[in-house]
Point group: C2
Chain length 131, copies 2
Amino acid sequence: MTIGQVAKLAGVGVETIRFYEREGLLTKPKRKESGYRMFDAEVVNRIRFIKSVKELGFSLKEIRELLFLRVDSRATASEVKKRVDSKIDQIDRRIHDLKKVRNALAQLSRSVGKRPLSECPLLDVLEKSRT
Amino acid sequence: MTIGQVAKLAGVGVETIRFYEREGLLTKPKRKESGYRMFDAEVVNRIRFIKSVKELGFSLKEIRELLFLRVDSRATASEVKKRVDSKIDQIDRRIHDLKKVRNALAQLSRSVGKRPLSECPLLDVLEKSRT
DNA sequence: CTTGACTCCGTATCCCACTACCGGCTGTAC
DNA sequence: GTACAGCCGGTAGTGGGATACGGAGTCAAG
């Protein structure tokens, strides 16, 4: 596939793909004699993954770490496992925090219209739930 | 409290507080005759809230919307409720996506050391779980 | 009443993640 | 074989979110 086809399927611009390649998020693709990049379809999923994880608040640096979690010459299995588990913890914390905001919003949704709201009702709810 | 005390308690720089004030995330504080800002303690929680929600992948614009969800002269109760509920949906989707990544990492953690890992093992796991 | 930390505001600068533009080459459809 | 879309690499510019800097005024301890 050409870079343009990949871009269209993954829902990003051509420039973004070249940018991700420079940043080491995508491995360098093979080239035709002309210099044109030749991608195989797998890269589309990879870019979609990057896109969706980015929206969850991870930086490209963190995403690169997620992508390349693996045993290599410089990492033993137990080291890799430690890294993976720490990522899991990080995500668990994030889920926990999101749930807190979610529940505060749910409570706010219930109280809308029932009583007058202060300037920042969400903060009030969070404040009270801190018991 | 002075801006410096607030900054220290909230764990941000003084400049950041002024920046948030300019961006409308904090309401303008009272001033002494000298021009010094006088904050009350509540603002510390507000800044901490901003910090933590930012880390969950929300932009300052979205956070401002979260903070000021309330009924005013231009919004009826049902409109506010609709906005709140749509925020809840958004957060639910985020939690769902995080759980997907989390589960893929958990599976990866289990398989580390058992079988050789490909270049991007996380993507493999996600790929296979897409059934 | 001086010294040193703190604050004021304005402007400039930084980092990140793109996005745009350029002149030149390539591929293909007519 | 020429028009035209697509690709190349390089550099510059953008928007978001801070962070730094500078010169002047303020506060509190000694």
